[in-house]
């Protein structure tokens, strides 16, 4: 059974169809990347999946439960879904360590000492322990994104959503972050990542979903989608993305 199953998901804003019946599956330990042109609905899809945006219709089955039904414990659901944002979204009044321990202490009700130990363990995984007492303003973009990833990971979620995790970074920092996400991929962390970055997509995906105008146009492994797909829209998109890099 899939960890996450999306069935015919539709989202309309006013009368505009943003998502036109998306269906996809994500299994435990699988890493899937969603790509597509700007405005194709990728980020809306991700936000619908943790109910930050309420879908208009369709079903989202997470861990066997239909989470689009009324009465779902959204707070509990979100603790099970880590979320990494394009612009990091670290709490700027808190140190790196406190950014990570806040959720552990307040949501997981972990004792302060255990929360700090967990934070340090996770920071160690991304070589950020020495920065634990710094504030977000004292970090580079790549370091901020590594902390944001750790903040999501520390909650031990069933899946991590990444929304354009490298789009706000220069090439050097992008490489840093891709290395970290690639480590997660090799550790079989379940991930769903939205990106424009073909380099990232290639190194962290089991398969890539290509979205066009609010619908899934293709799904395949990176090599076939990038270089050898029968659909001309897909070929055109990946040609431009890969050439761009």
């Amino acid at each position: 059974m899939a960890l996450l199953e999306v069935k015919n998901l539709v989202k309309k804003f006013d009368d505009k169809d943003i998502l036109k019946g998306i269906s996809l599956e994500l299994h435990e330990g699988q890493s899937k990347v969603v790509m597509g042109g700007s405005g194709c609905g990728k980020s809306t899809l991700l936000r619908c999946l943790n109910l930050l945006i309420q879908p208009t219709s369709g079903e989202i089955i997470f861990k066997g439960e239909n989470i689009t039904r009324p009465g779902v414990d959204v707070r509990k659901l979100r603790q099970d879904i880590g979320f990494v944002f394009q612009h990091f979204a670290l709490y700027r009044h808190l140190t790196v360590q406190d950014n990570i321990t806040l959720g552990l202490r307040k949501l997981k009700k972990m004792p302060a000492k255990a929360a700090v130990e967990k934070a340090l363990y996770e920071l160690e995984r991304v070589d950020m322990v020495e920065h634990r007492n710094k504030y977000p303003a004292q970090l580079s973009g790549g370091q901020k994104q590594r902390v944001a990833i750790v903040r999501a990971l520390a909650m031990d979620p069933a899946v991590i959503f990444l929304d354009e995790p490298t789009s706000a970074l220069d090439p050097q920092m992008t490489r840093e972050v891709v290395t970290v996400i690639n480590k997660l991929y090799l550790d079989n962390i379940t991930m769903l990542c939205v990106t424009h970055d073909a380099f990232l997509a290639k190194y962290i995906s089991d398969s890539i979903v290509f979205m066009d105008e609010g619908a899934v146009a293709a799904e395949d492994i990176a090599e076939r989608l990038f270089y050898d797909h029968p659909d001309p829209r897909v070929r055109q998109f990946f040609l431009s993305v890969i050439d761009h890099r």
């Binding site: 979204a89 700027r92 959720g103 307040k106």
Partner: protein
């Protein structure tokens, strides 16, 4: 000048009592106004339209009308409806309602400068709206609002001088009493002005220390 000093010495018990009243009023309204301001600010973020609308009306009314009108309404107006409040009670209620409106506005201004992605991040982590307010929004807007909030404390101190108009025996009321006795209006009121200036200077020094104490990298206050 000697005559004024003699008068100040002669009136010193009343002056000290007036000064105590002024400081008491200033401290109470600054504290109640701060908590009131936080509560009103919280209501401005309500997801219920009616709550937001009425909160905005409250703020507009108290910022848009003179403080003296609020005090007179309560002190001289309410007795027409059989409600008699002491001058001190009227001062506390009137000033608190007024200061809360101003403080709420300062906090709202700071809130507009927050990175809203942080709030979305907190939401995705599973925090509820009250938790996001307490753990993410409030610590940041309070830091960013320190200059405005301390200016309001200074304003509170100066505004206590209108309390004598509803018979509250504050410091300025005592100085007026002296002036009407010795007829040295300029010197007496100048002395009153210097006392206010000294008190304001103490608040400013304390505010600077507070700003330094709570300043963090990335927060430009």
């Amino acid at each position: 000048m000697d005559a004024l000093i003699n008068d100040l010495i002669a009136f010193s018990p009343q002056i000290i009592a007036g000064l105590k009243n002024t400081l008491l009023l200033m401290v109470i309204m600054s504290v109640t106004g701060l908590f009131g301001g936080i509560a009103v600010f919280y209501l401005t973020l309500s997801r219920t339209n009616a709550v937001r609308t009425w909160t905005e009306r409250y703020i507009s009314f108290f910022i848009g009308t003179p403080l003296l009108v609020h005090l007179f309404l309560m002190y001289y107006g309410l007795p027409e409806f059989g409600i008699h409040l002491s001058a001190f009670t009227v001062c506390i209620i009137g000033f608190t309602l007024n200061v809360s409106a101003y403080n709420a506005r300062y906090l709202m201004t700071a809130y507009h400068g927050l990175d809203k992605m942080e709030l979305e991040a907190a939401q995705t982590q599973g925090f509820t709206h009250p938790e996001i307010f307490r753990l993410i929004i409030l610590p940041q807007v309070m830091r960013l609002s320190v200059p405005s909030l301390t200016n309001q404390v200074i304003q509170n101190l100066k505004d206590t001088s209108v309390a004598f108009l509803i018979q509250f025996p504050d410091f300025f009321a005592q100085m007026q009493e002296i002036a009407s006795t010795n007829f040295q209006f300029f010197k007496t009121y100048m002395t009153a002005g210097l006392v206010y200036l000294a008190l304001v200077s103490i608040i400013v020094i304390a505010a600077r220390r507070l700003e330094r104490h709570i300043s963090l990298p990335g927060f430009h206050i």
